[in-house]
């Protein structure tokens, strides 16, 4: 029971973090980024390769994070910015195209075999009595998830963060008073890529990742973001954690075959019961 909850909070932290990355880009750059999980995967594979080549663990981690942020900025400057005058639909299609392209690039360079990013604590466990053991890597995911959520909330309280919230509320007025949408969008993509790298890295220090794993991660991330109405950080974070726990319980007590359907059922219920959260997100896109 306790193990199920912990496992749920662990995967929930990944969903929550990816959801937050999606919300950050959504707020400032106004794009639902379907390539978020793939961006994290590319960054993580860079880290795995460095670690395999003998680079010390923490330097490989740092390189992974920087790679994630750089990928984000490059995507924004090289692709998104050129399309931004054509409206939302081309941008959305571009992120879907990027998802396929990045996935294929990972497959070409690293192959399709599952890999992990072993940390010094991988495999270690804490006995908490009654024969129950919790993996250190699970605790790491949960703690980093919490730190990430607090850090992102703090980020939105800074001057740059306030500018992003202003852009989310009214894009054209924000520009009128001198807020540079381009600069903010680059920052948001960098932050998004950074968080995506953290997310997939957390996944890889605990479990295996491969070119197949982003597909479900991105769906769960979007479910978390939906629960926050694509705007609320708290809603996204709590939504992600709840989704992880629900999913683990469904896997443990019903069947792991329906885990995915349950996630989609959650979206369905959220949209029916709390449409105002989602509507807010839609209005935000129109501004």
């Amino acid at each position: 029971m306790l193990q199920t909850i912990v496992s749920g909070l662990e995967s929930g932290s990944w969903f929550a973090l990816l959801g937050l990355a999606i919300v950050v880009v959504m707020k400032a750059a106004d794009v639902p980024n379907f390539a978020m999980a793939e961006m994290g995967l590319v960054a993580t594979y860079v880290g795995i390769s460095l670690a395999a080549a003998g680079v010390p663990f923490w330097i490989a981690v740092l390189a992974t994070l920087i790679t994630g942020a750089v990928i984000g900025v490059l995507i924004d400057i090289a692709l998104m910015r050129r399309l931004s005058s054509y409206g939302h639909f081309p941008l959305l299609l571009m992120t879907i195209g990027l998802t396929l392209a990045l996935n294929a690039v990972v497959g070409l360079i690293w192959g399709h075999d599952p890999r992990s990013f072993p940390a010094p604590w991988t495999g270690a466990a804490v006995q908490i009595g009654g024969g129950v053991a919790i993996g250190v890597s699970q605790i790491v995911s949960i703690i980093v998830g919490l730190i990430g959520a607090v850090a992102i909330t703090a980020f939105f309280r800074t001057q740059v963060g306030a500018q992003m919230r202003a852009v989310a509320e009214n894009r054209s007025t924000a520009r009128l008073i001198g807020v540079s949408a381009g600069r903010l969008s680059a920052i948001a993509w960098a932050v998004g890529g950074f968080i995506a790298a953290v997310t997939v890295m957390l996944q890889a220090q605990s479990a295996l990742v491969s070119t197949l794993s982003p597909a479900s991660l991105i769906i769960y991330g979007f479910v978390a973001a939906t629960m926050g109405g694509f705007t609320s950080l708290l809603g996204t974070f709590v939504g992600g954690l709840a989704l992880g726990v629900i999913q683990q319980f469904v896997g443990a007590y019903i069947s792991s075959a329906v885990q995915f359907s349950v996630a989609l059922l959650v979206v369905f219920l959220v949209l029916i019961l709390r449409p105002e959260g989602f509507t807010k997100g839609m209005v935000l896109r129109d501004v």
């Binding site: 054209s172 009128l176 008073i177 001198g178 807020v179």
Partner: protein, 234 residues
């Protein structure tokens, strides 16, 4: 000349709404553009802020042709706007709204605090409420906040769209008093108004009608003559 508009044409889609507007604003002046609803005043503001494209004619600001410069670029050049309807962000606090003015990055980091203190001296009503949501402010206070935010961006020329919009006459008088106080500190204003109250603080006035200039006068001269009534209320 800080701002010069020569024979500017613009519009929406294929419909022209400004049919060759010309005006200029010198450094340190307060210039008013008057006209009833639907004369193209707001289109003029949108043209100047870069939200409407210039179809033909020329606009130069501080000797530089504005061309296709984006709204945020223009704000960073010092051509700042007090948007119609104040443009206060309701989901941000009063302090956060104020600091949005820093987005133009025209103030060196070392002078931010002094500038903020100066703005709060001008609007003491805001000083005690920095941490409150901006949505809790009254209309007049929101207009003060919008003006304060514009000052935080250290504007060369402040474009003001309907300062008096939806405000009580007493509040409007106070705001115009602040405007003339600010002129003493070197801020130049171009104010678009429906109300003639703006004339009392301004140097020169342009009257628009149907997207064309119809009259240009010294504001005091205009106030004393009956031309205002003749050309404006006709």
């Amino acid at each position: 000349m800080l701002l010069e508009i020569e024979d500017a044409h613009t519009g929406y889609g294929s419909i022209e709404v400004l049919h060759g507007i010309s005006l200029h604003v010198d450094e340190g002046e307060i210039v008013t553009v008057l006209g009833p609803n639907g004369t193209g005043k707001t289109s003029l503001m949108r043209l100047l802020s870069g939200m409407l494209p210039l179809w033909s004619g020329r606009i130069t600001f501080d000797g530089q042709e504005l061309g296709r410069a984006t709204p945020d670029k223009r704000a960073r050049m010092g051509l700042c706007q007090l948007p119609e309807g104040r443009g206060i962000f309701q989901t941000l606090t009063v302090g956060e709204n104020l600091d949005l003015g820093l987005a133009t990055r025209r103030i060196p980091a070392g002078e931010v605090k002094a500038t903020r203190d100066r703005v709060l001296d001008l609007f003491p009503e805001l000083a005690g409420r920095l941490a409150e949501p901006a949505s809790s402010l009254s209309g007049g206070q929101q207009q003060m906040l919008a003006l304060g935010r514009a000052l935080m961006s250290r504007p060369r020329l402040l474009l003001v769209d309907e300062l008096s919009f939806g405000l009580a006459p007493r509040v409007v008088r106070d705001l115009f008093a602040v405007v003339s106080e600010l002129r003493e500190t070197g801020v130049t204003f171009l104010i678009v108004e429906q109300q003639a109250a703006a004339l009392k603080v301004s140097d020169r006035t342009y009257i628009l009608r149907g997207g064309r200039n119809v009259l240009t006068r010294d504001s005091t001269e205009l106030l004393e003559s009956d031309e205002l009534a003749a050309s404006y209320l006709r």
